[in-house]
Symmetry: C2
């Protein structure tokens, strides 16, 4: 078995030797661009591959058989075009922290100016910046300059001198702190090259699966343990990425950090209790440029952290980052972005006006309240369909299923609805009421613990030996999530004075958005059915936005402007929300 990583989609699969890269993409739940169906004809499935020894090649995914551990990028993505991914002007590299080569004058008796002043003059000559004095760097400066032959490289953030050194690598990190998953990208600030990517479970999960339970833990104790846990996790990812890139933490002078408001606060060591108590306000939402050291990140001790701004208590820096990745400040057409992670954030707008809200849609799709729900990991059913009364599904990593992840849930709900197993109120039918075509599914409808269920895998078909099913209660959870999301979209449109049909584009961000079947989302009414042709998947846009900020200061500044301009709707306080929510609980009537 070989390990195949897709860093930009934040996914890894294990496949047998001889599997094609195209098959690995499919196994990883990535929709390959292969219009010819893998016949080696269209040439569109080109990807970049990077082996562990550092060799890079551009190959056709359908023709390349896997014979070693590989990292796979969309073609060209491995270079700094990662920034251009759907975003026209981001291939301009202009990180906030930069390296400048200096020539410093030696002190003489004729001109016994301070070491700092001569250094300052050199920086001014080299790049026109008047650096602010810093006693820590001034200590021993004469000896430092001498050791560097009076030709040091200065690492600068605006008018702050961060370090003097010989020439070296200038690296930058981007971190997306999800409630469930933490992703880190390590990039070269001078070439824009993505050097390594890593992800891991957010270790705060130990203190509670969701934002609310973690905020409660912090309120009852202190935020300290939660802060330490996330900082340690980022350091672990950073260490791994540095090993992969054969680089030193000393060379990492900046990190851009995004996360929902609670993750943002906990990373900073801020008590998140105000987020979960009415009126749900952040303690601080402004974009923050901070010294790395007090926050325990093991980048260069003089490095800077760039935290993207939060928009509201439940619309965080991750949403600001998604908006940046979508370039909301340049969008001409009315666009809806749906970012479903542990929470579901929605943004509607264009370059003139944007509005954002948060719904509680996430937990169901992350498996939190679903009997056999689980995250999109090995053993999870990620896609399913019912054709001619026959149920079929795919399991991440192959083999027998252990549970159902978000995209699978959506597919099951859509398929059950289409097959008449569910009616539009969400009730699981009596076996005898099933339409003729679905009669064979009747044996799957049973009662377990007093609840009507739809069996997906019998005991002998499941990895754990337990029968896997969706209960009536599970379906209700899906309805609640779907209702919240659909009501949110409707209210935002109303707020903007727009109609569904005014929406020109629907962008699905986040891991779940990337793997879910848009047809299923539309079939159950999570997204208005009319918008199906306008749906695009944009992957981990929050991570991409963070990386854009790490590589381009202008992007960071744009994210601040976008966040400040974005209007926020608090659904809970909106008098129309409950009505609309109840209305949207119903599944759409079948249109077959």
């Amino acid at each position: 078995m070989f390990k195949v990583s897709f860093p930009l989609q934040n996914r890894t699969v294990e496949v047998e030797a001889g599997t094609t890269v195209l098959s690995a993409e499919i196994a990883a739940g990535i929709r390959p661009n292969a219009p010819c169906g893998g016949m080696g004809v269209c040439g569109k499935c080109q990807v970049g591959i990077l082996s562990e020894t550092g060799e890079r090649e551009t190959v056709l995914a359908c023709e390349t058989k896997i014979d070693r551990n590989l990292t796979v990028f969309a073609a060209g993505e491995e270079h700094h075009k990662i920034l251009t991914d759907g975003a026209g002007e981001f291939d301009k590299l202009a990180p906030a922290v930069r390296a400048v080569s200096l020539k410093v004058e030696k002190a003489t008796l004729q001109r016994p100016t301070s070491d700092w002043m001569r250094l300052k003059e050199a920086v001014e000559t080299a790049c026109g910046v008047s650096i602010r004095p810093d006693p820590a760097l001034a200590n021993g400066l004469g000896k430092t300059l001498e050791a560097l032959d009076y030709a040091p490289q200065a690492i600068l953030y605006r008018d702050e001198l961060l370090a003097l050194r010989k020439e070296g690598r200038l690296l930058t990190a981007a971190v997306d702190i999800g409630t469930t998953t933490v992703v880190l990208y390590l990039a070269d600030g001078e070439t824009g090259e993505l050097l390594a990517t890593g992800s891991m479970l957010n270790p705060q999960t130990e203190f509670g699966a969701d934002v609310i339970s973690r905020a409660n833990y912090a309120m009852q104790h202190t935020p300290k343990e939660l802060s330490s846990a996330i900082r340690a996790a980022i350091n672990e990812l950073l260490d791994g990425a540095l090993r992969e890139a054969n680089a030193s933490r000393q060379d990492v002078y900046s990190a851009a950090i995004v996360g929902n408001t609670c993750m943002h606060h906990l990373f900073l060591g801020i008590d998140p209790s105000s987020l979960v108590l009415s009126p749900y306000v952040p303690s601080i939402a402004e974009p923050l440029v901070l010294d790395a050291t007090p926050y325990g990140l093991s980048i260069n001790p003089r490095g800077k952290l760039f935290l993207l701004p939060c928009i509201a208590g439940f619309v965080g820096a991750d949403t600001a980052s998604v908006m940046l990745a979508c370039e909301y400040d340049r969008i001409e057409e009315l666009t809806l972005v749906i970012d479903i992670g542990t929470n579901g954030e929605l943004v509607i707008g264009d370059k003139n006006r944007t509005v954002a809200c948060s719904t509680a849609a996430g937990p169901a799709f992350e498996g939190a309240k679903i009997t056999f729900g689980m995250r999109g990991a090995a053993g999870a059913i990620d896609h399913a369909s019912i054709r001619g009364g026959t149920l079929s599904f795919s399991v991440i990593g192959g083999g027998k299923p252990r549970g159902i992840c978000g995209s699978g849930l959506l597919d099951f709900a859509a398929a059950m609805l289409s097959a008449g197993v569910l009616d539009e109120t969400g009730r699981i039918s009596d076996p005898e009421d099933l339409p003729k075509d679905s009669r064979a599914l009747g044996e799957r409808i049973r009662t377990v613990d007093g609840l009507r269920c739809f069996v997906i895998a019998e005991e002998n078909e499941s990895e754990t030996g337990a029968c896997i099913y969706l209960s009536q209660k599970d379906i209700r959870e899906i309805q609640l999530a779907k209702g919240a999301m659909a009501a949110g979209i409707a209210l935002m449109l109303e707020y903007l004075g727009k109609k569904e049909t005014d929406l020109q584009k629907v962008l699905l961000a986040g891991a779940f958005g990337n793997y879910m079947n848009p047809e299923s989302a539309c079939a159950i009414g999570l997204i208005p059915a009319k918008l199906l042709p306008r749906i695009e998947m944009i992957g981990n846009a929050a991570g991409r936005g963070a990386l854009m900020c790490a590589l381009n200061e202008e992007c960071y500044l744009r994210s601040a402007k976008m966040a400040a301009k974005t209007e926020f709707i608090e659904l809970a306080s909106n008098p129309n929300f409950q009505d609309r929510f109840v209305e949207e609980l119903m599944f759409p009537e079948e249109e077959e």
Copy 2:
């Protein structure tokens, strides 16, 4: 015995009950303003007295008998007029760190803006400042605002919010770090009142008496011990001042700090070795506004430090502070300032142009290389004269002498020269060559350890039982100091294209400058004799400059401008210095 302190002159004496304040002033080496000679007629000897119980009174020094421990100020000085002492416009109180009362809006579901944003809006409304975000203060901000009834007082430095609190005192400290003595002033930032003053020996003395030996110690070890020692000393003075003012360190939000360049570097923890190795450059000389915490000062942990700028390796922030106290940027007449501490710094100029230099004049006057030299403490002979062949002198604190301090040395040299004990080459005469009037002094001229000496106190006249004398070598030391100083003045005038007679004023700063007899200084040629009528004593101008900066930000900014504009002459590298120095070693020929 009662203790009488003169905080502004940095002097304390013990006197017997019933002594008048005027006598105490004289005992302390302070020249009282008493033209009527203490007859209670002129009313000019008015002073403010402060008893330990906190009572304040304005009294006539000549009429007030001491019956308790007292602190004595020049009349009115105890209030903020300290700032106006010789400096027209400094009674404007405008400290850099200020307190502003706020009204902060409560968060609501209708406007769930972040706590920081609502605080920021309140500051903007109150004083037009847009504060920069600070995660440390944002932590728990909602609860803080609630606890302060949404009407907190903000402590601000420019756009930095330092603290939120209920109303309270806003204190500020000024520190003058001398090589030998450390002085601290504690003042009220809202009234300008001087609350307490303290001084102590610089504990770094343990590592070396002068700047060079301390720099050597730091080079051989690290600057750490020296830094810790001075920081601990400042904290000790601060603690004492706070006790005296019945105040808490939490209320001290700023401190202005001055000292020579080596003291400045050591306070900051900067290796001072570049100061003592050619070309004698500071590591950093710029004015510095710093967070207090990293420097270990026990003021409010969020407080700020204001370090005045240094001018060169041997012309430090203390000189910048003296220049501020003299308002060099407003002086119309060509003015010479002489600040003799452990080193002797000279400034000549006016508001258009200033030049500074440093001479090694100090150590002799601090007693370092003089056989019976000592600091101006109890037991030191501080004034002396020879009249009609009779030697007389005064001893600080009364009683038998232990040694001779700088002002005493100067008086002895002048008196010996005038009495013909010294010729103009500095040689101590043979007893038989003494002029007739001085014949009685012959018995004081002896040979000790092979060196000709002039005996000042016989064994039975001295505190220690040892005979106190000035040796030929001691006289040579005085000549070297005098030669360096006079050569410096001559070269600076030459540099400016000016003559001695262009000097309109000579200001004597520093403890030594305050106690020495200007007639003696002119008699031995330390100061050109023609300038005698233009000499003024200005006391601890360095400390006063620091206090001005603590109480008025504009003063701090002016000191930065003055220092940046001041030209520096390195005497050592000046080709004319040696010539001039040798020429100036000679004492002036007697003009009697």
